[in-house]
């Protein structure tokens, strides 16, 4: 498609230059490096807004005491119960139980450690219910990266 993209809407991929195929004047398709095609940006933002919404919902539920803080970490890292179960080598049922505050507060340290390792957080965070950012927002040394340009 013959498009030159001058739209400067914030690029969701950190302005990474990706390749896409574009036809030149003679109609030859050529791989061309350029930044993100704008409509993709729109739908990517949409997908992330949905995730943010789920995260907010999860925080809400935690405040209301309906789920444990594990629910936040699961949601923020875009995992389902099944996925979290397979990453931690436990059954889905067990993970489901751990989402209940009553059971979660009674978990052994070793069990919490499994979750802490997976999400790259401290066991204390889980015990005290501190909600740290998800993996994809942690810097290389676990530091939080600023300015999320999704929105």
């Amino acid at each position: 498609m013959k498009t030159s993209n001058n739209d400067t809407e914030k690029d969701i991929a950190n302005n990474i230059k990706t390749v896409s195929y574009t036809s030149d004047a003679d109609g030859n398709q050529k791989p061309v490096s350029g930044s993100y095609w704008q409509p993709v940006n729109v739908v990517n933002h949409q997908a992330w807004r949905e995730i943010e919404k789920q995260i907010e919902n999860s925080k809400e539920k935690i405040r209301a005491g309906r789920v444990s803080c594990l629910h936040y970490y699961m949601t923020a890292n875009q995992m389902s119960v099944g996925l979290l179960a397979s990453y931690t080598g436990q059954s889905s049922l067990l993970v489901r139980l751990h989402l209940l505050p009553f059971i979660f507060t009674r978990l052994r340290r070793e069990t919490l450690q499994i979750y802490a390792d997976l999400f790259k957080i401290e066991v204390e965070d889980l015990i005290e219910g501190i909600l740290k950012p998800p993996l994809y927002q942690q810097g290389e040394n676990g530091k939080v990266q600023g300015n999320r340009n999704i929105d």
Binding site: V19, S20, G27, P31, S33, P39, N44, I150
Partner: protein, 333 residues
Amino acid sequence: MINFPHTQSAHCESGVAANLMGEKNIPMTEAMAFGLGAGLFFGYFPFIRINGLPLVTYRAAAGQILKRIGQINGVKITEKRFRRPDQAMTALDQAIENGIPVGLQTGVFWLPYFPRALRFHFNAHNLVVYGKEGDEYLISDPVFPTPVRCHAKDLARARFASGALAPKGKMYYVAEVPEKIERRPLIIGGIRSVCKMMLGSPFPLIGIRGIRFMANRLAKWPERLGKERADLHLGHVVRMQEEIGTGGGGFRFMYSAFLQESGKELDEPALLESASALTASGDRWRQFAVMAARICKDRPRQGDSYDVMADMIRECASFEEKVFEELNRWLKQ
């Protein structure tokens, strides 16, 4: 250290295939790898859900391109999977030490060098490891402009990502290549395979029938799901079509590049014609995406609606039906 020719490409699997072959002195463009690997496809599978949204795919199943390239006469691609991360990482280290660039299947979510916004749980991302410095691996990730680095711990995680398409530490390398590859039969084989998938599927969710099926479904989304869910579904379709790795237009432009290259190489004008027709279809897909983006953004223009979009997709279906029927005719010559 291995001197690995990193060429950026649109799609990870065809890019890795092309780069690995290039390293063995069999130059191949990404589009050619995509075509020989019969990468083009369409499938709409509402019973498989990704984050609660139906699976839409514009390309063949992950691994298919490499599989087909490995079946070329004289080419041998060795593939290994592992049970434990330490075994997998040791095998990787050994191969690199022996000067072999190694392709890996990984989960994008665990690769820190990826832009945050693209870190979804997608487990069929391909990359090539060509060196190691301390705890860091030197990686030629075909969708990135330059080589990148990744810590061993993160890479091990990525190789053992769980969920759909779990890589299970899969690594592969080109073990043998012939001196020369006779491309003509391979091109024909690749095109035949795609034609079969697009036209001849008895299953209504695949190929041209799949495109039409999705169009019919899409037209009903607003009343069936409500505006919000419908927009999410729509955005998802566009994402699968245009996301990093597709080369734009749901891989149609890339396949068109393959047809052009083949047409010139084999001196077959029929392929060139099919290429332009497929470009037209890709353009239509993109026009659909533009309208969809406006709707997702809640800024529809007059005349934007799900019905209109469904019609656009149906047009794509007829375009592509014609393209592949033409190609089929060419195959039978």
